[in-house]
Structures are given as C-alpha cells and as structure tokens.
Amino acid sequence: MTSRMPFYVGLAALVVTGLSLAWLRHAELGVPWLPGEKRPVWLVEARVDFIARDEPVLVSLDIPDNPPGFQVISEQAASPGFGFSIVREQGDRRGEWSVQQAEGPRTLYYKSQVVPELMPEQPADEGTAPAAPPSVFWEEPQGTAARELLREAQQRSSTPESLARVLIKRLSTDNPDQNATLLLDTDTKPVILKRLLHQAGVPARLSTGLRLEDARRRQPLQTFVEVHNGERWRVFDTDSGEQGIPKNVLLWQRGTDSLLDVMGGERSRVSFSMLRQTVPSLGLAASEAGRTNFPLFGLYQLPIEEQGMFRILLLLPLGALVVAFMRIVVGVRTSGTFMPVLIAVAFLQTSLMPGIITFVVIVMLGLMLRGYLSMLNLLLVARISALIILVIFMTSIISVVGYRMGLNPGNTITFFPMVILAWTIERLSILWEEEGAHEVLIQGSGSLLVAVAAYLVMRDPVASHLSFNFPELHLIVLALILLMGQYTGYRLSELRRFAAMSERD
C-alpha cells in the first residue's frame, strides 16, 4: 500500500494556496470578503453590429450624458481598427467610430461604468428653456380625435405634469375609447403622447432608458416621455404614468431622435448587456480618480457578456461539490452524474418553483413521448435525436403558453439544457422498462433533490460573491472533492439499507 502522505500534503498545499491568494487579493486589492461590504457598479455595454460595405464608415451612437441618478465613472470603446471619439452635437453627446475602409461584419463596443448615486440630488436646471414646440399636423380623422382627447384632458388638468399624467392614463387603459384607439393605430404610444403634448403647447421629448438587471444580455430599451414644466424636464413612464425615473433605470438617450447612425454599413443593430459588479470603495475611489482599469488580475477585464458567463461557470464547482457530497456521503441515487448541477443552473435563471414545475412537466411529457418512440424500435442515436427535437418543441410550447398566461418565467425556460433533458428522459425511460416505475421515482426525485440542494448553495449570495471575486477559493473546493474521493466510510443511505443487520439472532 502506497503512503497517503503526498496526497494529503498536496491537499494541504491546495488549501493553503487558495487561502493565501484570496487573502492577498483581499489585503492588496481591497476586495471584501462579504457581498455586503461594497458598492454596486453597473458595467453597461452597448454592442453595435453592422455589415460594412467596403467604403468609408462612420458610426454614431448616442451615449449617456450625465444620466440622472447615476455617476459615470469610466467610459471606453473597444473597436479594432476604428478611430473613436466622443463628440457633442447640439448639446447631444455621441460616440463616433470611423474608419477609411471596412468590409464585412463588424462589431463595436462601448462600455461604461456607472454607479448609482447614494443621494440622488435634484437634477440641475438644464440650461435654457426649450424653444416652443413645433406645430403638429394630423391626418383626418385623427385630427378630430386628437383635438377631442386633448380638450377632455385639458379640462381635467392644470399643469403640464398633470396634463401628461391624464393623457397617459387615457392612452393606457385596458379598453381605450374610440379617440384613443384611432390615434394609437397610427403610431406608438410615446410618439402619440409627444405629439399631443406638442399640440397643447407643452415642450415634450422622448428618452430611452435601460433597466439595469444583473447579467442581462440583449436588454431592450424602454421609452419614456419627458415634459418641460417651465423649469426642468420631468420624466414620465408611458405605461403607468408614474412621474420620475424608476430606480435602476439608466437614461441612455435624451431628447434625440436617433440612437444609432451608420454610414457605409448596413443591417446595423445595437444591443445592450450589463453586469452588476460589486466593487470595494477603495477600487471605486481609485477608478474615480481617473484610473479606468480595474486591478490587474481577476475577471473584471473580460467583456461583460463573458463575465456573466464566468459568473455562472464559477458556480459549477460548488454544484459539483454538492453532487459529490450527496452521492458519496449521503448516497442519493441520481440519473446521470452531473445532470442535477445543470438543472440547478437552469433553476438559477428560472427561480425555484417555476423551474421545478417546468422540469417535472417536461420530463413527464418526455417519458410519455419516449414510450411511443420505444415502440418504433429505433436505434439509440436516432431515438435521442428525435427526443431532443421533441423536448425543444415542448419547451417552446410551454414558453408560449406561459407567456400567454402572463407567466414571465415562460421566457426563461430556454435556459434548460435541452440535450441533457433529452438524455435524462432517455435514461429514466430505460430505467422504467428495466427496473419499473418505482426506481424511476427514486432516481428522478433523487436528481431533483440534489438539483435543489445545489441550487440553494449556488444561489447563496456569499457563495456567488466568493466564487466570482475570489476564483482561487476553488482550489479549496477541489481539495474537498479530492478528499471526498477517498472517503471509504458508510453512506448515509447504507445505514438504512443495512438496517436489517441490527436484528441479531
């Protein structure tokens, strides 16, 4: 028997390395141990995609200009081969990329770090009062409808703000009257609102804002209407009529019509992704003082989209730890070794209950369909492939039905790993044929149990904070898993399985 000594020394080395690296990071770079000890920083990334037409290219993107409630601490553009400059056109701040010649698909990034202001102060008066609004022309019969709507609204309001509120209410009810319907048929609600306000002689403009949510990709812009009350601009939500900017909304574009102009390219589009970083006050202070780069090592330098992925990727070791513990020490039987971790990752996106329900529904439907497939006597690969397609169908249907019923989680079902689901169904179905429904129930609920346990661990704010900000701590997870690989004691389940041994004869 070889000595176990080197093994344990190796494990100790892993733990020591992990702890000391983490301590170094904490002491030198000021990364705090707990998620509570820091200020959030939103890293917002606008990504512009377009196809260049082999001619001079000029891309102009509207960028935030002192967005109310936020402080921009750094801005940078990633644009290989392009020149970048920030210009001000008629009081409007824009980022401009240019290149003499470009061809084919191009991607440009604009990144900005914003910090929510702790004490949102009243926005300063934005210079001079705006010019009188332009006159508005309507086609008939919309003209009559607009006049009628405006007349009624003006009767019930006294100030520009109250007029805006009444108009929003009139246009947003569940069953708008004839006038409102007629107008809404011609254009979007924000545009109609702006025109009605202009017609009433109230200066109004449209703004778009980004709702800041952690690790979101392709976040859509939300349109707001701003009304000038003679002193300052007031922001209104065009659906609820609420005044003021909602918390966590970053006003991206204010008072301009175009978000993105591309000359010399086609099929351009812009998408936004964002990430909530927690940055210690120290690092924040440093970057506010003019240094735009974050500390040298760590994952902060990656593009946000990748950082979001790493955040999930770095949770997987914890899930693996849970699986190892549940299988080796507890002795839970699962279908497929690491399937529960992937399901748990999906739960992170869908939240727990909707996740469990959809998972159970998809697996049950899948087992029924698989029952039919098994009658066809297909070869394994064809059977799995067919199953994958069916699983995708089912998730699409559930998504659509969920959306119709107004259940938001419907959209996030696509996070479920389809291939893994198909394999799970196949395994459980074989198990059903070979060992009966009882065993399927045991392994199915075992998998679910492990998935929920892994979910609870991975969702823990401290765990996710430590795993992302202190990647070296995973060495300790690794050591724990290696240690468990040596566990030769009884499993918890065996204490039950061998319970019959206690009756002595």
Partner: protein, 314 residues
C-alpha cells in the same frame, strides 16, 4: 429503521465507497473488464481454464445468419438464447421442448419460428445490450435443474453467487426467484437471497427485501435445509475464474446442472453488497484476513481448502 455506523463496523459490513476504492479499483484492472462484460468471451475463456459452462451450440453474429440458425434450432429439443452483453437476465429466451414445429417456453407459452428469428434480430441490433451497442446472440444448452432444488424456486433455475477475493471464495449466496421477482434472480426485484456457509454449502439465513424469512414465499418450502450438492466442486470451478480473468474482486454466478454439476453462467466485476445481508455478517473481516496473508496459495484447490477450513461459520 436505521443502524448506527458503529454497529455496521462491528459486523464488518463492506460499504459501497470502500468496495469501490479499496477493492474494485485496487484489485480489478479495467483493461480486463471486457472479459466479464461479454458472456461469450467469458465462456470461451472459462473453457480454456477448465471451468464448465453450459454447452455452447451456436453463435449468431450477423443478420444473415439468423435464417440458417433458426433452421438448425428446429432440430433441437431445448435451448437457451442469450445476448452476449445483456445484463440482469434481459433478452434471455429459454425453450424447453417443441410441439408440432412450435417452440414452447419455460412458462408454457408457444412461439413460432418467426418469433425466434425476431428475438435473434433484436439481440443483434443491441436491444438488450448496455447502451444499445450491436451485440451477438449465443445459443446454449438448457440447464437441467438438479432435483434437490425443486420447490426452492418459482420458475427459473436458482443460481449461486460467489464472491471471490484474490481467487479465494469468501462469501456465497443462492438466489431463488419468486413470483414477485417475475422469475428473475435479482434481489432488489424481490428474489430470495439465501446465505450459504462457505465450508458446507448449507443455508445460513434467508432474506427477501432485507427481511428474514424461513419458507419460500410461493412454494412454502423450508429454506433452512437447503444444501448445495457438490459444493467443493462448485467452489473449485468458481475459484479458477481468478486465473482466467486476473480480476481480484469478482462475483461468479454458477448453477448446478443435474448432469454436469456446477456450471459458470457469468462473472461480475462489480458484485453487489446485498450478499452480506443474506449471510447476516459483513465481508470485511474475511477480506482483511486474506489481504494480511503472508503467502497466497497458488492453486485453486489450495485456496478452496483454505477458505473451507478458515471461513467456517463464525
């Protein structure tokens, strides 16, 4: 409902983790697994080492051989068809006699030659093999159950599972199929496990679903006077599997044929742990005893004699 880990330790129970780490991965070389995962290979290997197995009649490897094979089967009174890589008794078809060109199964059901051909075709397509790999079908003589065993089993022939450690038989159990287990010999499906004394081949204890019982649930026959005829010969044939496979920790499944005595059915490189419950004591003391042996016995005969004299009922 629960038992303390200390109590399990006192009885020397081997747990799953210890079995995997200390025995299977230490004593079983992965490269030799194919020898036991494929019944045909096991069989050919066993023949080379003088271990009797049910007589091989035919091997069907390709689809076009099926027609020919079916014609030859028509000339045989009884036979068993098995998938070489099947596990847990799946896909096994046992024909006991023929009546007017129809094949009669052990359960009394009659099959047409077409049914036999379809079954062979399913086996070749991998329907019963692990992960659906293409397989071959082997056709063997049917086992004639030794008369001593009538009434001990509901359908199916009872088989003897022997745990071999470094070639020494360390624990034995007979598995009796029941109505609940659907004629199968799998303990978790409800077959009765009868722990056997290594020294004598006599019943020590019988369990079904981990509960002790004294009579066969279907036939009502008393289990405590169960005794395996030709016990030493059976142990000897099992013990030779160590030389044949080179695997240190295996389970050998044998049956007792009325005419030919103990025959090897299959080998298992990851034998289960339920055998300990059927015997009423754990494997660990015996395994440790053998691990501590200064000089291992070289011949199967010596090992069997050593086991018989050492592992007497404690």
């Amino acid at each position: 409902m629960w038992i303390a880990p200390r109590a399990l330790q006192q009885q020397g129970m081997l747990g799953m983790n210890r079995r995997n780490i200390d025995y299977i991965s230490r004593y079983n070389n992965r490269r030799r697994y194919p020898l036991v995962d494929n019944k045909l290979e096991t069989k050919l290997l066993a023949e080379d080492y003088g271990i009797a197995t049910p007589r091989l009649r035919q091997v069907v490897r390709t689809q076009h051989e099926i027609r020919q094979a079916a014609r030859q089967l028509a000339a045989m009174d009884s036979f068993a068809i098995k998938p070489a890589r099947g596990s847990g008794g799946k896909g096994i078809l046992v024909i006991t006699r023929q009546e007017q060109g129809r094949f009669i199964k052990a359960s009394g059901q009659a099959l047409d030659p077409v049914d036999i051909e379809r079954d062979l075709s399913n086996i070749l397509a991998g329907l019963y093999s692990l992960s659906g790999l293409p397989d071959v079908a082997i056709i063997e003589d049917v086992i004639r159950m030794a008369p001593q065993f009538t009434g001990y089993s509901y359908q199916g022939v009872p088989d003897v599972r022997i745990i071999l450690f470094k070639g020494y038989p360390v624990m034995a159990m007979m598995r009796l199929s029941t109505e609940h287990s659907d004629g199968k010999a799998n303990l978790h499906k409800g077959a009765v496990g009868v722990g056997l004394d290594i020294a004598s081949g006599r019943c020590l204890k019988a369990v079904q679903f981990n509960r002790r019982l004294y009579r066969h649930p279907d036939t009502g026959r008393h289990l405590h006077d169960l005794e395996i005829p030709g016990w030493r010969q059976l142990l000897l044939r099992a013990a030779r599997c160590f030389e044949a496979t080179g695997l240190g920790y295996i389970g050998a499944d044998l049956v007792v044929d009325a005419e030919r005595g103990a025959l090897l059915l299959e080998l298992n490189a990851r034998p289960g742990l339920a055998i300990q419950v059927a015997n009423g004591f754990g494997l660990l003391p015996r395994l440790r005893h053998l691990e501590a042996l200064r000089r291992a016995h070289l011949s199967p005969e010596e090992r069997v004699d050593y086991a018989i004299s050492t592992f007497d009922r404690q």
